[in-house]
């Protein structure tokens, strides 16, 4: 699969049975459909989180193609109204694209990741400060 942002081939990372697609060049993360639920280890909570995503009103970010079906992905606000985190979602449900640092921002939001397990895991996978470096960009 190629990175939807910079077109470089993505590599697959696996740690403790969790597998994610990662672009070495731009630091983005692609999660296949269902992979986020797997990450949260709870289908209900995963669904809740995904349902809470709203279509972003306006975004200056460029539209990106889904790496699986190449359809233009929708811009989704996964953050709060006043603090938006714009991620990309495939209209056909193939998966979600997070730019560098966006995934931990989304998961940091409230009660979703109670014991901060995923954040820890992500910090495990990616060097902690690199992950948080692009906060508030």
């Amino acid at each position: 699969m190629d990175c939807p942002a910079c077109k470089n081939p993505m590599i697959v990372l696996e740690l403790q049975q969790v597998e994610i697609d990662h672009c070495v060049a731009c630091g983005g993360i692609w999660l296949d459909g269902g992979e986020l639920e797997l990450l949260l280890e709870d289908e209900k909570r995963g669904k809740l989180l995904i349902d809470s995503f709203k279509q972003a009103q306006s975004s200056k970010e460029r539209l990106r193609p889904c790496p699986i079906c190449l359809k233009k992905m929708h811009k989704i606000n996964a953050g709060q109204e006043n603090h938006p985190v714009i991620i990309d979602r495939c209209p056909k449900g193939h998966g979600l694209w997070f730019d560098r640092g966006e995934l931990s921002q989304v998961l940091a939001k409230g009660t979703l990741d109670k014991d901060r397990k995923i954040i820890k895991l992500l910090a495990e996978i990616f060097d902690k400060d690199k992950c948080e470096a692009k906060n508030d960009s």
Binding site: P9, M10, V12
Partner: protein
């Protein structure tokens, strides 16, 4: 089946012209169509089938257990070890193909590997191996192609009729022969509709019989009928239809790949016997020989077992062995991952394991010769 094919050709020939030779001509055409199709499938049928089901060859280091089990069954059946393929599909299923035991192939889906333990896998491979041993793979090729030829001829004729009937309405014909011709035409249309159905029923009856025989063969080869019974049970719980199967290839699989949940196919039109019945027979076997299967079959279905009497006479008792399955403590998730890894490997991914514990799977189109571990920053070469 050949009779159905011949009759169809003859009747269509007769319908086309009043000349009695036309019937023979039609018959010859039908046989030629069949021969061409048979030749294509005989020389390249297995390759076409494997390619159409997107099977990729695997080597021993990708899945040692699958390879070992295939080798074990080849030894038990005293056949050369067939080529092994994996199909990247979550639906659990398997099939065997090839012209002869010397050039046979066995294909299993990733879903099958992910779900079954060693004994169950052995049961399934034993089933496929006995298809090879009984030369069912050739039967499916020849009979399947004959079915295809019948369907093709009938279809071409009916379509031809449909289009030409528009023009014929205005053409005048001689009276006497015209009437006989019209009757013959009617018969031909009926034949063209009935022939594919008849051939299909025949084909299905034959292939069901062979499924039972392969089950019996698997029990005998593995000496452990419970393995196949468990495997069939697990496979039957699956609700995803196999996406790479179609009507022609369906009879080759260990269970019908097209059967959807909630849709009960009637006994006559199914290529496979009901799974529950197959499991019941396997579970009521008192030994592992053909005789035991035959007895269990009679007890369960009240019918005579579809096992040739020659196989029953030259049998000495085969005792059932104990389970040898390694009950791996692996979770479903990790099994899923290991199956995923097989698919990555077959797709040309190379694996890099960093000393920090992170596993990287590098796609074949990744151009750099080294990769920096995003976890610990180590730069690792890509082999």
């Amino acid at each position: 089946m050949a009779v159905v094919l011949g009759t169809l050709g003859w009747v269509i020939g007769m319908a086309a012209s009043p000349d009695p030779m036309a019937g023979v001509f039609g018959l010859v055409i039908a046989l030629i169509v069949w021969m061409i199709l048979a030749m294509v499938s005989f020389t390249g049928g297995d390759a076409i089938l494997l390619a159409s089901s997107k099977a990729v060859p695997v080597t021993k280091d990708m899945h040692p257990q699958l390879f070992n089990v295939v080798e074990e069954m080849a030894i038990a059946a005293q056949l050369p070890v067939p080529k092994v393929y994996v199909i990247n599909d979550p639906a659990p299923n398997a099939f065997a193909t090839g012209r002869s035991p010397q050039s046979a192939s066995i294909a299993v889906t990733a879903g099958l590997l992910g779900r079954l333990n060693r004994d169950e896998l052995q049961g399934v491979i034993g089933h496929e191996m006995s298809h090879i041993l009984h030369r069912d793979i050739l039967f499916v090729t020849v009979a399947g192609v004959m079915l295809g030829a019948i369907t093709l001829i009938a279809e071409v004729f009916l379509r031809g009729m449909f289009y030409s009937s528009m023009g014929r309405r205005y053409s005048s014909r001689g009276k006497g022969s015209g009437q006989a011709q019209a009757i013959m035409l009617l018969i031909a249309i009926v034949a063209a509709i009935l022939a594919p159905i008849m051939a299909t029923l025949l084909y299905f009856a034959l292939s069901r019989k062979r499924e039972y025989l392969a089950d019996a063969g698997s029990a005998r080869l593995t000496r452990y009928p419970e393995g196949l019974a468990c495997a069939l049970e697990k496979i039957s719980q699956n609700t995803v239809p196999l996406s790479v199967a179609n009507k022609v290839t369906a009879p080759m699989y260990i269970v019908n790949p097209l059967q959807k949940e909630g849709m009960k196919l009637s006994d006559l039109t199914s290529t496979h016997p009901p799974i529950s019945e197959r499991i019941k027979i396997l579970r009521s076997m008192s030994g592992a020989s053909f005789i035991d299967y035959s007895d269990a079959f009679k007890k369960t279905t009240k019918l005579t077992a579809p096992i040739p009497s020659s196989a029953l006479t030259a049998e000495k008792p085969v005792s059932v062995r104990g389970s040898s399955s390694p009950q791996t403590s692996a979770t479903a998730k990790s099994q899923q991952r290991s199956i995923g890894d097989i698919m990555f490997k077959t797709n040309g991914f190379s694996f890099v394991n960093c000393s920090c514990g992170l596993k990287m799977k590098i796609p074949p189109n990744f151009t750099a010769s080294q990769v920096k571990c995003p976890r610990c920053g180590q730069v690792l070469p890509i082999s």
